[in-house]
Each structure stands twice: as structure tokens, then as C-alpha cells.
Amino acid sequence: MDIVNIIIANVFINNYVFSRFLGICPFLGVSNKMETATGMGIAVTFVTTLASVITHIIQKYILEVANIEYLQTIVFILVIASLVQFVELVLKKTSPSLYNAMGVYLPLITTNCIVLGVAILNIQENYNIIQTAVSGFSAALGFTLALVLMASVREKLEVADIHESLEGFPLTLIAAGLMSIAFAGFSGLM
């Protein structure tokens, strides 16, 4: 039950893009095409789930044991950066087709605030390791959902006849705002 709650909360109610404002840069940057949006979504889901679990283990068994929790930010970002590099290398060797599909997006993930954000929030919420994995996975799932929805809207926006100053990002932000109102409607779910 607890796990179902985490999933619904992270995907719909507290969607990381629409209500917590994490991962806005890639959300605006790669949501112009459906293909790139799904590629980015898969890559982020993969890295976020892995990073959540690893940072959880590091926090519990290294930082807390050695009493150096104040190094959390530095350690976590280093773990995430090296994890991204590692995933890139492994994929290149083992599955070239998957690597080609998400290759360009992998380096970008280091500066996606969702990965670090979820890792820190998991620690703050005091989740155990299973809850952490579920929370990381569902947060990224919510991000992918937002990205794919936005991509399908933006493909239509491109042909819309609007004032030139609104073209591109301003209109995308306004569309994101309207979508965010729709997501606010989910708040009654729980």
C-alpha cells in the first residue's frame, strides 16, 4: 500500500516537473520531438533509479557511520556524475543499439536536478531501500510522462499562428502552466 502511495504521489500528485519544478531544463530542451522525449525519458528513468539506490546505500553505510552527513551534496553529485559515465561505458560495450538510442542524452543527465533532487528527498523522507528504489523509479516515470505529454503538445504548437514574441519557449511555458493546472486536479486522489 505504501509503495502504491509513493508511485501515485510521485507520478501524478507531486509530479516532479509540474509541481516540484525539478528537471525543467531538459523538460524545455528536449520536448520538441516525440522521439527525443522518449529517449531522454528512458535514460533518466534508468539513471535515477540506480542513483537513488546507490546514494541511499552510501548515506546509510558510509556518511552516517562516519558522521560526515554534511558532505552529502558533494558526495552525491560525484556519485551521480561517475554513475552516468559508468552507465555510458557499460552500454557502449554491452548494448550498442541502446547506447545509440540514448547516447546523446546520457551526459546531460548529470545536471538534471531530478536525479540529485530525488536522492536528497529520499533521505529526508527516511525511506528504506525498497521505498527509495520505487520513489526514484516513479519520480523519473512522472518526468517521462510530463516530457511525452509536452512533446505531443509542442508538435502541434509549431504550426500554430501566434505573435512572434511568444514563439518557442514562452508559449511552451504557458502550455506547461496549463498542463500543471490539469495535474493539480490529481491532488484529490489521496
Binding site: F21, C25, L173, I174
Partner: protein, 200 residues
């Protein structure tokens, strides 16, 4: 590059929020009131200037291949410093900004300035560039924060502006308001300010 050019770039021509659209997460998230916006700006300016200075100082000894991880470590160090200072001296504000203080590490604005400016220019110029870009960020987030606070809660810097019968539009301090207002602000900035500069 002259000093005035650095400031013109940071504030207007290459304004990080209105033109480059980087580092948007914190702008959307903490601009629900002017006080939060200004505090967040101070933290960002501090980290940006200090990391630019350090990266500019060590730019010649950093091996090219691992420069990005090194930049991130430098930035993370200053973010941790800011975080500890705020925790010690500004507890309520630290609670209000929450996760967005540690997330300054992944603010693309800071890494972008390290990579594109501080790693190529001298110390003084890099420090000025950090200050200028930070002020550009401050302008954007403060304007957004002012509008959102007035419309969304009828106050400014926590002071009640209107009579008791005023009904604030809660939408504007909620997430949708942030997206919509920032979209409108970018459109206005681009059509008014950028046009005037290109005419000059």
C-alpha cells in the same frame, strides 16, 4: 572585453533566465515571494562568483578531460558552504528554500559560466562575469517574485498591500502561475528589450 560589456551581457543580452533559459528550476520554484527570491539570488551570486574565481585560478592546471567533474567539485564545495551558513544563521529561510539550496550544484547557469567563461578568462574578469550573470538571475527572479507575491497573496516582502477585502488569486503562488507568468515575462522581455538593443 570591457567591464561594461560583461555587465550588459549578464543583465540583458545574455540574461540567463530570459534569453538563455538556463537555471530555471529554482526560478520557478522559489519565486513565490520576493523575500525568498532575493535570498536565493544572494546564494546563487555567492556560489557563482566564488566558483568562477577558483576555476579561473586553477584553469591552467586542470587536465582537459576531467574538467567537468573538477568544476562540479568546486561548485559543490561552495554550495555546501552556503548551505551550512544558512543552516546556522537563517534557519527559517533555510527551511523555506529547502531542497533548492543543495540543488544549486546542478544549476546549469553556474556550470555553464565555469565552462564557457571562467575556464578561459582571468580572475578579475571571471569574478565580474559571475557577478553580472548573478545579477541577471536576480532581476529575473525578483520581477517574477514581486508579481507572484502581489497577485497571489496580496503582500510584498511580507507587508500587506491591500485592504482586508482583497481576495488574492491563489493560482499565482501555485505552480501553474509560475509557468504562465514566466512565459509572459520572457515574451515581454524579448519583444521590448531585445528589439531595442538590436536597433542601437
Amino acid at each position: 572585453m570591457k567591464t561594461s560589456d560583461i555587465f550588459k551581457n549578464g543583465l540583458i543580452k545574455q540574461n540567463p533566465i530570459f534569453i538563455q533559459l538556463i537555471g530555471m528550476c529554482s526560478v520557478l520554484a522559489v519565486s513565490s515571494s520576493l523575500k525568498n527570491s532575493v535570498t536565493m539570488s544572494a546564494a546563487v551570486i555567492g556560489v557563482l562568483v566564488l566558483s568562477n574565481i577558483v576555476i579561473s585560478l586553477i584553469r591552467k592546471v586542470i587536465p582537459d578531460k576531467i574538467r567537468i567533474p573538477i568544476f562540479i567539485v568546486v561548485i559543490a564545495t561552495f554550495v555546501t558552504l552556503v548551505e551550512m551558513l544558512m543552516k546556522a544563521f537563517m534557519q527559517p529561510m533555510y527551511q523555506a528554500l529547502g531542497i533548492f539550496i543543495p540543488l544549486i550544484v546542478v544549476n546549469c547557469l553556474i556550470l555553464a559560466r565555469a565552462e564557457s567563461f571562467a575556464s578561459k578568462n582571468g580572475v578579475l574578469k571571471s569574478a565580474l562575469d559571475g557577478l553580472a550573470m548573478g545579477l541577471g538571475y536576480t532581476i529575473a527572479i525578483s520581477v517574477l517574485g514581486t508579481i507572484r507575491e502581489i497577485l497571489g497573496s496580496g503582500t510584498l516582502w511580507g507587508i500587506q498591500l491591500f485592504g482586508e477585502n482583497f481576495q488574492p488569486a491563489g493560482l499565482f503562488i501555485a505552480p501553474p502561475g509560475a509557468f504562465i507568468l514566466l512565459g509572459i515575462l520572457i515574451a515581454i522581455f524579448r519583444s521590448v528589450v531585445v528589439k531595442r538593443i538590436s536597433q542601437e
